[in-house]
Amino acid sequence: MSRVSSFLLRRRGGTRWDWTDVFTWFWLIGGFILMFGPAAWLVNSSFKTPAALAEFPPTLLPYVTELIQVEGYDNPLPLYEVTDENGDARVLAEVRRIGIVAQMVDPANPGEIIKVNIQDRTPRRTVSFATENYVEPLVANDFLRYLWNSVFVTVMATIITLLTNSMAAFALSKYQFRGRSTVMMLIVATLMVPLSVIIVPLYSVISAMGLFNSLWGVILPTVATPTGVFMLRQYMLTIPDELIDAARMDKASEWQIYWRIVLPLTAPALAVLAIFSVVWRWNDFLWPLIVLSRRELYTLQVGLNTYAGELNVQWHFILAMTVVTMIPVVLVFIFLQRFITTGIAGAGLK
């Protein structure tokens, strides 16, 4: 353990601090806060009650004011620490507040009302995690349904993406035919057309096909990605043609060459594309929002949007469900980051 810490804390200046040590620590800590801070803040805030979220200045940890059941009152009363004129500290429960004067009561002696200036009291608070932010949407608000829809869309879209894109890439990398590079250029050129440009015609197509308000309407338009075709093709170009010739001599059909030779050898690139596809489809918002108008078909991202009403934004639910939506993507990044970096390095895309 001490060796680990001495390895991690070793300095360029030996026992003294070189300026590069200071700079490195500053840079790393600063970067850590910059990158990780917002995410940590999100997770933290997702456990706060609506009241704690509205509080200013915000607190780091989720606090709630302690409540106490006092005899003679129907509702639990909030507890305050009060300093009286003599400088003695007492714990009182607040009954009501009028202007700057709070009417308070001693839980031990509920009959007597004590008037206290609100300047002289501070709420007595404890750290408490508002897990109902999570439980309520997941149980009552159909978020498990949305989660399932998201998983379905992501998994199906990814499988179909891998299949169709690898077939296209196989044809474009291993067959010589007239117009091959033209087709490739056309496919790559569609990278330059953003979704917002084709959203209306795409909607007409989906609607005419009767896929409106269907998860397949979300899945199918997204499966053919030029990025995927490009990335897989570049990778397949590195597979030696002699292997394919050898397979042809071995009586393999074209389908077998694709399925048993080329596809297994493309596995690293397929893994990268699978990761990208999962992240893309999981985070998709605009297109599902357009296609899906029935509540039970919502994906997570669309479902999140329902908490942001015109008049009332339920921040506590949004924050909590954002954390839920983030978890799979974060897991993908943690466990598959090696593939992601090679993918970005290999295809020059992200």
């Binding site: 030696p240 002699e242 292997l243 010739d245 050898a246 397979a247 042809r248 001599m249 071995d250 009586k251 393999a252 059909s253 077998q256 048993r260 030779i261 297994p264 050898l265 596995a267």
Partner: protein
């Protein structure tokens, strides 16, 4: 039975014609070597026979059956590739089984054939390894094994030894020869290495720029090269070429004037006096003589190898002349050496590079 006949086979890639009207008859059980410098079209020719590529003109027949339009898989041939082309994601066993599975052979027979090939090639201990875990020589055996299990009518080998180190190449060459002996199958072997061609071949096909220069047994090619190219290509070290002029023919002997290197008398050839010709002399044909008729040249470098002495010389005409003398000789750089001939096998070529025939009478 497997006889392969090529008739008028040509292949062009766009404007570039790679093969010109190749006619060739490969007999059953023969080991034919295609040899030539890189870019001569030998690998293309092999791919045409394999069916991986189609000729633009001409026909290919196996056992007198036209297979020009038949797919590679249905020609019953097996190929060993230069890079071996083993499937890297499959074990050796799966590599061997792949072709048989595609042919829907029963499992038991596949296993039996693999076992047999593994025993023959001594690859049984690594049947469950991946190609990436094998050495170059082992991979090479697996590649040959993959061809053997198919039990093909003919083997096509595309520079199978070029990725091995020198020592392994020699031992594998011997193994290949033994394998050919044992299987007595037709084999077509492509190489750019004339030594490989000489040691392995029943017949050699010398190719240059898409044309067949000469077809013959190794010794035919060595002893009677049809033209300058074959003469220069076959035999190591390379044949010496000296420009010469026909001096005149008398009593069935023709005198050759070697520009600045003396003169020689040879058996009469079909050429007239004054013709410019090229004389080809194998380095092994030269010996040192003390005087009289012969060629003189200045020694520039002597390599004494013990069993033989390699003498690099330069004639007065500026031509380099290499002599490989058997045994040890007392020659030093800077001296002038006088060479005679060990045998009368001279190679004379006219100014188009074609071998001169002996005079008719």
């Amino acid at each position: 039975m497997s006889r392969i006949t090529l008739t008028g086979v040509s292949r062009s890639f766009g404007q570039v014609q790679v093969l010109h009207d190749i006619d060739l008859d490969i007999r059953d059980g023969e080991l034919v070597v295609f040899v030539g410098p890189s870019g001569c079209g030998k690998s293309t020719l092999l791919r045409l026979i394999a069916g991986l590529d189609r000729p633009t003109k001409g026909t290919i027949a196996i056992n007198d059956e036209d297979v020009t339009r038949v797919a590679a898989a249905d020609r019953g041939l097996a190929m060993v590739f230069q890079s071996y082309a083993l499937y890297p994601h499959m074990s050796v066993r799966q590599n061997l089984a792949f072709g048989l599975e595609n042919a829907r052979m029963p499992r038991a027979e596949i296993d039996q054939r693999i076992a047999e090939a593994a025993r023959m090639l001594e690859i049984a201990p690594y049947l469950d390894r991946r190609p990436g875990q094998l050495s170059g020589g082992q991979r090479q055996r697996v590649a040959i094994g993959r061809a053997i299990v198919r039990n093909p009518t003919a083997f096509l080998l595309d520079e199978p030894l070029s990725n091995l180190d020198a020592e392994l190449r020699i031992s594998t060459r011997a193994e290949l020869a033994a394998l050919h002996e044992r299987l007595s199958a037709t084999m077509i072997y492509v190489t750019h290495d004339q030594t490989e061609a000489m040691t392995l071949a029943d017949r050699i096909v010398v190719l240059r720029a898409g044309r067949i220069e000469q077809v013959g047994t190794p010794l035919e090619l060595y002893n009677r090269p049809a033209n300058l190219f074959v003469a220069g290509f076959i035999g190591a070290p390379r044949m010496n070429f000296l420009p010469a002029k026909i001096g005149g023919t008398k009593d069935g002997r023709t005198r050759l004037d070697l520009e600045g290197a003396g003169s020689l008398e040879v058996e009469a050839v079909a050429a007239s006096a004054g013709d410019e010709i090229t004389l080809g002399l194998r380095p092994h044909q030269l010996r040192l003589v003390d005087g009289g008729e012969g060629m003189t040249a200045e020694v520039s470098l002597v390599e004494a190898l013990g069993s033989e002495t390699v003498v690099h010389t330069r004639t007065a005409g500026g031509q380099s002349l290499l002599a490989v003398l058997s045994g040890q000789h007392d020659v030093a750089a800077g001296e002038t050496a006088r060479f005679g001939l060990v045998s009368a096998d001279l190679h004379l070529f006219d100014k188009d590079g074609v071998r001169l025939q002996p005079a008719a009478n």
